[in-house]
Each structure stands twice: as C-alpha cells, then as structure tokens.
C-alpha cells in the first residue's frame, strides 16, 4: 500500500487579533488524508476554515498545532513543493506581465530551462484557451481568464499533487465545465487533486472522497457513497390524468402519511408543504412511504390516469452538507 500523498493530523489554527488580543479558532484539530490518484473535495460553507487549512498546507500560514506531511515531507520542504501545484482562491497576478511572461517566471522558479518553459507555457495556454491573449498584459484579463492563468501556473511544474482553492469561483457555466473537465483529465493522468469548493454539484460530479468542514471542525470524511444515506427518503411520481381525477386525488392525498420521514433540514412542527405539484411534463406527487405510493398508484390507474415515472430519491450531497453544517445553504454567511 502506498503512503498517502497528503496526511493531516490534528491541524489547528488560532488567530490572535486586535489590541485586546482576541483569539479566534479558525481550524480546530482537523485530521484527514488524501490517497495517491484520487480527487478529494474539501467542502464547507464560507468561513468554515477551508482556505485557512489550505494555506497552512501551502506554507502561507503557520499552524498553531498539529502536523501535516505532503508527499512524505513536512510542509515547506522545497523538494515536496516542487511536486505541488497550487491555485489560490481569487488569484491575483502581476498585472503588468503577460500570461506568457508570468508562466516563464514561475517556470524559472521551478528550475526549468528556457526550452522547457516555452514548451509547457505554450501547451498550457492553448489547453486553457488563453493562446489568443498570451502576449497581453494581465491587467486587461477578465476574472475567468485570470482563473485560467491560475490553473496554468499551478500546472507548469507538472505536479503530482494539485491543490485548488475554489477553482470554480467566479466562473460562468462554460468555465466551470472546463475546469471540471480539466480536473478529470488530471485524474486520468494519475495526478492527485485536492480542491475546496462550496459548489456541491461540482463535488458530486468530481470527487472520489470528500471532507466536510464546518466552523473549523471536520464533520465527515469518506467516499460519497458511504457518507450519503442509501435509505430512500421519498418517492416522486410523475403522472397525467383528467382535471376531475387531479382534484379527487389532491383531496384524497392532501397530507403526508402519519409517521412518515421528515425531510432533512426541515424544522420540527413546521407546516408541511403539499405533496402535489405541477410540472411541464405532468402532475407530480411526492410519496413519503411505500404504502402511500402503492395506494396512490392504484388510485391513479383506477381513475383512468397514467403513470409516467416513479423515482425513488435518496440523500443528496446537499442534504448531507445541510445535515453536517446544521443550517440551510442559504442561511450560511457569504
């Protein structure tokens, strides 16, 4: 068995701020590991401690406690740093330089010769769609273009471990898709990707494993399949029928079955939404239990209606996230 690429044990950061030396714990005893070749998503609401953890791993912030090893070496080891590529959150670069000049500068730090720098810079700028702007000063770049330069500079050293802090932040849907494709391409090349995000759809699509951090503490770590409950939470029925049948079934199945599961995240005792709704494809009924579903399907058929689909719904990453953070995503501070 190979050693983990990244191993974090009890990492802690306490900031002391202001004249009164007020202490704030940003990261509180975080432990996890990232295996070689996997895509690990570091999830958490804004202000949860994701960036602080990443900055500690990248040597930008000194930890108050705990240890971390990257590629078998302590944080800050120059040989280990040579094998790491890092994209900071909302990256800023020297705006008087062009993307090519910047990549050459970074290549020089990696000790690459001129030929190798030119080869890698050209390939990366083409791959990331920046070839048309490679000679322009970066002060004229859009946010999306800067994010691409950030990815290029993270990859110019051909790293084994790629650490990306909010790589999809500020990108349009096409940009986000391109970054997702790039992460999958990196995984295909056998590289390890450790990235933070609060966009759950991206994590759902990309991650082999995730870690969920909330208020500085790691709440859950593991493969999504293991973290998400396999239990069916509810069953969605798409059906069509006459107006009379719709009215009759709305009356007959007006409320959820007594004893059925409450939706995760809903307040106890809060007013339950109607299980009926309409969509462009037909009527939608949400059954909370198998017995209720059986009776509803039988009633639709008996009334001359048609069932288009029956979809069981299991816990999503968003629901897990809400369960771990104890708040709805819209309530989290931005």
């Amino acid at each position: 068995m190979t050693a983990p690429v990244l191993e974090v044990d009890g990492l802690r950061k306490e900031f002391v701020r202001g004249f009164l030396r007020k202490r704030t714990v940003a990261v509180d005893g975080v432990s996890f590991h990232v295996e070689r070749g996997e895509v690990f998503g570091f999830l958490g609401p804004n202000g949860a401690g994701k960036t602080t953890t990443m900055k500690m791993l990248m040597g930008l912030i000194y930890p108050s406690g705990g240890t971390a090893t990257i590629l078998g070496a302590a944080v800050g080891d120059i040989e280990a740093k040579r094998r790491i590529g890092y994209l900071p959150e909302n990256p800023y670069f020297y705006d008087y330089l062009s993307a090519t000049e910047y990549l050459h500068m970074i290549g020089r730090i990696y000790g690459l010769d001129r030929h190798e720098r030119r080869k890698r810079a050209t390939r990366l700028l083409e791959r990331l769609g920046l070839a048309m702007a490679e000679g322009r000063a970066m002060r004229s770049y859009s946010k999306g273009m800067l994010q691409r330069v950030g990815l290029a500079q993270a990859l110019i050293g051909d790293p084994e471990l790629v650490v990306l802090d909010e790589p999809m932040s500020g990108l349009d849907p096409i940009g986000r898709r391109e970054v997702r494709e790039l992460i999958l391409e990196l995984r295909g090349q056998g590289k390890t990707v450790f990235f933070s995000t609060h966009i759950l759809a991206d994590a759902n699509l990309l991650c082999d494993r995730v870690g969920i951090i909330v208020k500085g503490k790691l709440r859950d770590v593991g493969p999504l399949g293991e973290l998400l409950s396999p239990k069916v939470l509810r069953i969605e029925v798409l059906w069509q029928g006459s107006a009379e049948l719709q009215a009759a079934l709305r009356e007959q199945f007006a409320e959820a079955e007594p004893g059925s599961e409450a939706e995760p995240g809903s307040e106890p005792g809060s007013e339950r939404e109607s299980p009926h709704s309409s969509s462009s494809e037909g009527q939608v009924f949400v059954a909370q239990a198998q017995a209720q579903l059986d009776r509803f399907v039988a009633a639709v058929i008996a009334g001359g209606g048609e069932i288009s689909s029956v979809t069981p719904q299991r816990e999503t990453l968003e629901q897990l996230f809400v369960r771990d953070s104890g708040t709805r995503p819209e309530e989290q501070r931005s």
Binding site: F15, T52, K55, M58, G59, L60, I61, Y62, I78, E79, K81, R82, I84, Y86, L87, P88, N90, P91, Y92, F93, Y94, D95, Y96, L97, E101, M105, I106, R108, I109, Y110, G111, G150, Q153, G157, V163
Partner: protein, 277 residues
C-alpha cells in the same frame, strides 16, 4: 567532494530562483510610469543646469556637475523610497505573494530576490542618469572623468542602503509609515555631523549627550556617501579638484554592505515568521 558539488548546485539553484524574482521586480520597476516620470524630472534638472551655467561666469561645467550629482541623488532618494517601501506592501495588498510562496522557493529567497531586482533597477537608473549627465558635460566641453564616477558610485551605494532600510520598515509597517521612517532616517543620517557636534558640544557630559551619541552610532551614516564639498581632515573634497580615493569608496561600500545586510537580515527574519492570512 560530492557534498561540495551538491552545495554548489544548491547555491546555483537558489540564485536561479532569486533571479526569477529579481527579473520580475526589475520588469515591474521599468514598467512603472511614476518611475519614468521621476527619471525625466532628474534629466530635466540636468538640462536646467545648462541654462544656469549660461548665467555663470565661465563655470558651466562646474554647475552641470554639481546640479547633475544633486539631481541623481535627490531623485534617486525619492525613487529608492518609492521602490523600497512598495516592494512588499504591493505584494501583500494585491495578494500576488499567495501564488509565489507555495512555489519551490524559500521565503528568504523571495525577499532577497526582490532586493536583488531593486539593486539591478537602481544600478540601471544611476547608470542611465550618469550617461545623460556625461552627455550634457560633453556638450559644454567638459569631461565626466573618474572623480565623477566615484561620486556616482557613492550615490548608488547610498541609494542601495536606503532601499534596504526602507525594505526593513516595509516588512512590518504600511508604505506611508515606512516612507516616513526611512525618509526621516535619511535626513538624520545626512546630518550626523551637526548632531555629533551638538552631542559633543552643548550636551557634552550630560545623559542626553551620551544617548544622542549612542543613537547616532546606531543610525545609518548617509553623510559618508555624499562627500563633494565636505570637509575631510581640514581638506575640502570636491569632484572639481581633490576627491576621495577608491579606498574610501571601498570602505563606504563595505559599510553599506554591512549595514544594508543587517537590515535585510532583520527583514528576512520578520518575513519568515509572517502569516499570509
């Protein structure tokens, strides 16, 4: 043998990384419009000396030399303060440092690379202004000569030392405060003779005098770099006649290297401990 060649390779690699940072710092400086304007002002002052020279009684060359050296020195000080105090604060304000520190380089290499870039910039600027001054002198039938080169090297040393002092302040305070601190030290450092006379004259024997003498010993002695017209051992030295020797320039260089090195060392220690939040 193997260890020594590894050490040499390591040093070479370390210099390569510092050079990458230095080259970028040089690019930043030469693409800065404020710097270009300051250099133009210095050249304009030299050009103005041509006009002043016409008003003098056959002292055109002397006036061009004096005003030219003063221009290089004054605008050089403004440029050194401007570059020195902005060196780190810009990196932190614009968060450009966040992408660089995680790269395979040590923090001290980053800081020393930045200083190396400023050093190259300042050498280029002083050389440029000196060439322009030599051109003006030639136009008036004068000669630039080795004495002027010594004076210009002394000014360059002063500017390099001032940049190291400014960089030290900028490693823990804001650009404005750093400029004020470093600028004040430069003014005090240029007037140490008067302060020494005060400490050994009116304040002699008093606790205040002792403290002032001690403080003057600690502060950078910028006076030693601008010597034209100064009194050395009862002899007035000047670029127009008898000027300081190469040995003096060497000792001034050693002083600048030692004092500037100390400033950089403290700046490195402060930078090493810093959290980039």
């Amino acid at each position: 043998m193997g260890t020594s060649s590894n050490g040499q390779r390591g040093l070479f690699a370390s210099f390569g990384r510092m050079w990458a940072i230095a080259l970028n710092t040089f690019r930043e400086a030469v693409r800065n419009k404020v710097l270009a304007i300051l250099v133009m002002f210095a050249v304009a002052l030299m050009a103005f000396s041509l006009v002043l020279g016409q008003l003098s009684l056959h002292e055109e060359v002397r006036i061009i030399k004096d005003l030219g050296l003063a221009g290089i020195s004054i605008f050089g000080v403004v440029i050194a303060l401007f570059l020195g105090v902005n060196l780190l604060s810009k990196e932190l304000d614009r968060k450009t440092v966040y992408a660089i520190i995680p790269k395979p380089l040590h923090r001290h290499e980053f800081l020393l690379g930045k200083y190396l870039g400023l050093l190259v910039t300042m050498v280029a600027l002083v050389a440029l202004m000196s060439v322009v001054l030599a051109g003006f002198l030639l136009m008036q039938g004068g000669r630039h000569g080795v004495l002027m080169v010594r004076a210009e090297i002394l000014i360059l040393l002063e500017l390099l030392l001032l940049m190291a002092v400014a960089m030290l302040f900028s490693s823990f305070s804001s650009p404005w405060l750093s400029a004020m601190f470093a600028g004040s030290l430069w003014v005090i450092g240029r007037n140490t003779a008067e302060l020494e006379a005060f400490a050994t004259g009116k304040l002699e024997g008093s606790a205040g005098g002792t403290v002032l003498e001690f403080v003057l010993d600690l502060l950078p002695d910028f006076r030693m770099f601008f010597v034209s017209g100064a009194n050395f051992d009862e002899t007035v030295v000047s670029v127009h006649g008898s000027f300081v020797s190469w040995a003096y320039v060497g000792s001034a260089a050693a002083y600048a290297a030692a004092y500037g090195g100390m400033c950089l060392l403290i700046a490195v220690l402060l930078f090493q401990r810093r959290d980039f939040t």
